[in-house]
């Protein structure tokens, strides 16, 4: 193995890790996992750690984890005070979910990080902003010819009609600032559009979004890891059993993808790597695609420049410690320099090949859903979300009776 920090400009002395903020029981447990892994990775390198996380019922806030623990809310005000008090010189944003990421962005915008000379480790703030701001995101991807769902923000009915004509019917109409998505939906014809627009603007809605309709497209995601030296791999890909239009929370995700042939698999993999390199992400991220089931055509839906719920699933499904590796990369290691903890002989620069498939499930008092085991050699669970077991077990049962019920009938 190469000596520590071959490419690291300056080893951080004390790092502040942002936790995920307030948790509800059973929800966002994956961020506890990622934060814990990050702290372990930092401690291994002899870097002092400070953690901010208000939840006492987590692993990362347990005794013996972080060197210093602050049980406060993850808000810019508190974080600034702790930055000063603890004299930290670096910050980890991507291990506490969206709350931590937003907090980091706010601190950067307010000039707090510059003021105290605090470095953000891993993905630079600019790259995070590019993934978070829809306008920047579409622009950046267009620079390298990667397609996103076409979308127009319209302030008048005329603008909306023109946009719909340009995109082509049917379109997805999203009405901004309406409660519970009221008035949003798929519009098939121009007459329907007129009616929907009249209703929307009559209710005093300032703008509507006219978007390309992707209902029925396959929903695919890739977990991508990139180091500061531009080495880039896709650790795992996943497929939602239900297509676009059915909320992920109502569906179930399977790793690896089940209905993609090599051409589609490699197309999306290549686009994922190209996109992540162009955005300049350092560490781990998740990229979501819609894939046309009738031909090789895709849209990038979004990029999450942080550990996410999917990363937790991918880690468990593949055995690849994404959060731990992401923390090492943030410290300046390159992928081939990080030893593989499982084999001990190889490195973190590899893409796991699964000889099983993994699908998340909740632990229930009646035990695991036994019908599922005949179809797959491996198991994984994801302790997440407030979804009811009923919905899940229905999906599971559908899966078990025939591996891919919906798409089989189309074939």
């Amino acid at each position: 193995m190469t000596v520590y920090g071959a490419y690291l400009p300056r080893k951080p002395r004390k790092v502040l890790v942002l936790g995920s903020g307030a948790l509800q029981i059973g929800q966002a447990g994956e961020f506890d996992y990622s934060g814990t892994q990050a702290i372990k990775a930092l401690k291994e390198e002899g870097v002092a750690t400070v953690l901010i996380n208000p939840n006492i019922a987590t692993i990362q806030t347990s005794e013996g984890m972080a060197d210093k623990l602050h049980l406060t809310a993850v808000t810019p005000e508190f974080v600034e005070r702790i930055l000063v008090k603890e004299e930290v010189d670096a910050l980890l944003l991507s291990f506490g979910g969206q709350t931590a990421l937003n907090c980091g962005l706010a601190l950067d915008e307010a000039g707090v990080l510059d003021k105290y000379g605090v470095r953000v480790l891993g993905t630079p703030v600019k790259a995070i902003r590019d993934t978070e701001d829809r306008r920047f995101f579409i622009e950046r991807l267009a620079e390298i010819g990667v397609t996103t769902a076409r979308s127009r923000a319209c302030r008048t009915a005329d603008e909306a009609r023109a946009a719909a004509r340009e995109i082509g019917f049917p379109v997805m109409l999203r009405v901004g600032f309406a409660l519970g998505g009221q008035g949003s939906g798929i519009v098939e014809t121009e007459a329907d559009l007129d009616q929907a627009l009249r209703r929307a603007f009559a209710n005093g809605v300032p703008q509507v979004l006219v978007e390309e309709n992707l209902r029925g497209w396959k929903e695919i995601e890739y977990e991508v890891v990139r180091d500061g030296r531009n080495n880039c791999i896709t650790v795992c890909n996943m497929e939602n059993v239900d297509p676009m239009g059915i909320h992920t929370g109502e569906s179930i995700v399977v790793a690896p993808t089940q209905t993609l042939n090599d051409e589609e698999y490699q197309l999306l993999r290549s686009v994922a790597i190209k996109t992540i390199r162009h955005l300049g992400i350092v560490g781990e991220c998740n990229i979501q695609f819609a894939l046309n089931p009738k031909g090789v055509d895709y849209r990038v839906i979004e990029v999450n420049a942080r550990l996410s719920r999917s990363s937790a699933l991918a880690s468990k499904a593949t055995g690849y410690p994404l959060a731990y590796i992401a923390a090492k990369i943030a410290l300046g290691y390159t992928l081939p320099e990080i030893p593989n903890a499982i084999t001990r002989r190889t490195t973190a620069f590899f893409e796991p090949a699964l000889d099983y498939l993994a699908a998340p499930s909740q632990r229930s008092s009646s035990g695991r859903c036994a019908c599922w085991t005949s179809e797959c050699g491996g198991w994984t669970r994801r302790p997440s979300s407030s979804r009811t077991w009923k919905t899940r077990s229905r999906t599971l049962h559908r899966c078990a009776s025939s591996p891919w019920p919906r798409r089989c009938s189309a074939g």
Partner: protein, 370 residues
């Protein structure tokens, strides 16, 4: 479909595993090798490097996206990598007959049946793979369970891997395709069609010549040479090695070896090759470029490797495997000769190293212009 027929897989060491038939009926024998790719069975099954071998796919669900319609004779269209299924037999854990994909026209079983290749499903491929990794690749037989083992073994269809296999995978005559400005000679000892497609896409005219023709006049006519992949032990291809050696002594245009071509080039240059215990077959093999230190994930399919320490003095290592340090690429210090063990043309597998074709064509163009 012959789904209900019980089948068995026998290994040289006496291991016996039972499963069910899919695809064609009959018994076959060959070296049992495993591939860890999770997608891309159409590409893998038509890859001539697998000729004579029984292929085990470690991913458990195989067949779910079906197989596209057959391509027209003489066509080079993907995802097919040659005109036929090249493997002797296919071993899977769980064959999916009910496929679903917009590009699919038939099931995997139907295709195998039409091509006369037997398949066996219901095998514990994890145990099988573990055994192959511990003992190294072994000979094996796939046969109907009711047949007498000894008799079926004798009657099983096999391919002679010393000589016959190379004749089977090479085209009969020289084939010319494309009309690009630069002419590239592809030495074919079982080259994948995507190698041709990759060259055509970059503006080349490809002269696809079987390895046993006289290459000297063709090489003189072309602006560069690609030595393609193929099955078997490179040391059994002595005539080609001799031809390439005499070519190298006077040739000054670019020569690019891929997979078997890498081994041939190494042997022709005076290097050595050896058999790996169980080979590299999959689409997730990490390699490192020793010059830039950049790492790539590559598609690989080979059972032999170039001995790194036996390279002649005017050659240097170029790529190494990050997992086990074996040679993945070499290049001449003095002349535009280089080769890689992995498949930059992918298919199946990641396209990370497709830039090697760009580099090669750029070099060919630059040298042709003088």
């Amino acid at each position: 479909m012959t789904a209900a027929i019980p089948m068995r897989l026998l290994l040289e060491d006496g291991t016996e595993m039972s499963g069910r038939a899919f695809g064609a009926a009959g018994s076959v024998g060959g070296e049992v090798v495993f591939n860890t790719a999770m997608a891309g069975y159409v590409e893998a099954l038509t890859d001539p490097s697998y000729r004579g071998q029984i292929l085990v796919l470690t991913y458990p669900l195989i067949g779910s996206y079906g197989v596209p319609a057959p391509r027209a004779p003489g066509s080079l269209d993907g995802p097919y990598e040659s005109d036929r299924v090249q493997v002797q037999g296919l071993v899977v854990q769980s064959y999916v007959d009910k496929y679903s994909h917009s590009a699919a026209a038939r099931s995997l079983g139907t295709w195998l049946e039409a091509e006369g290749v037997p398949g066996i499903t219901g095998i514990d491929t994890r145990t099988l793979t573990r055994r192959l990794r511990e003992h190294g690749t072994m000979k094996g037989w796939v046969m109907p369970a009711n047949d007498d083992a000894a008799l079926a073994r004798n009657l099983a269809k096999t391919v002679d891997m010393k000589e016959e296999v190379f004749r089977l995978v090479a085209p009969d005559n020289v084939i010319r395709c494309g009309d690009g400005p630069l002419k590239v000679l592809l030495v074919d000892a079982g080259a994948k069609d995507n190698m041709v497609r990759s060259l055509l896409k970059r503006g080349a005219t490809v002269v696809r010549a079987p390895w046993h023709t006289d290459l000297t006049p063709l090489a003189a006519e072309c602006d560069g040479i690609v030595i393609g992949n193929g099955p078997g032990d490179p040391k059994d291809l002595t005539p080609l090695v001799t031809q390439v050696r005499s070519l190298l002594s006077s040739y000054c245009k670019p020569v690019f070896g891929i997979c078997l071509g890498h081994q041939i080039l190494a042997l022709a240059a005076g290097g050595d090759t050896y058999k790996l215990p169980y080979g590299h077959r999959g689409v997730n093999q990490p390699v490192q470029d020793l010059i830039t230190r950049r790492c790539y994930i590559t598609s690989q399919n080979h059972g032999y490797a170039v001995r790194q320490e036996a390279l002649p003095g005017d050659w240097e290592p170029w790529f190494v495997n990050v997992h086990d340090g074996t040679s993945e690429g070499i290049r001449s210090r003095t002349r535009p000769f280089f080769s890689v063990q992995f498949h930059p043309e992918a298919s199946p597998g990641p396209e990370d190293t497709a830039f090697l074709f760009d580099d090669f064509m750029r070099l060919v163009g630059a040298m042709a212009r003088g």
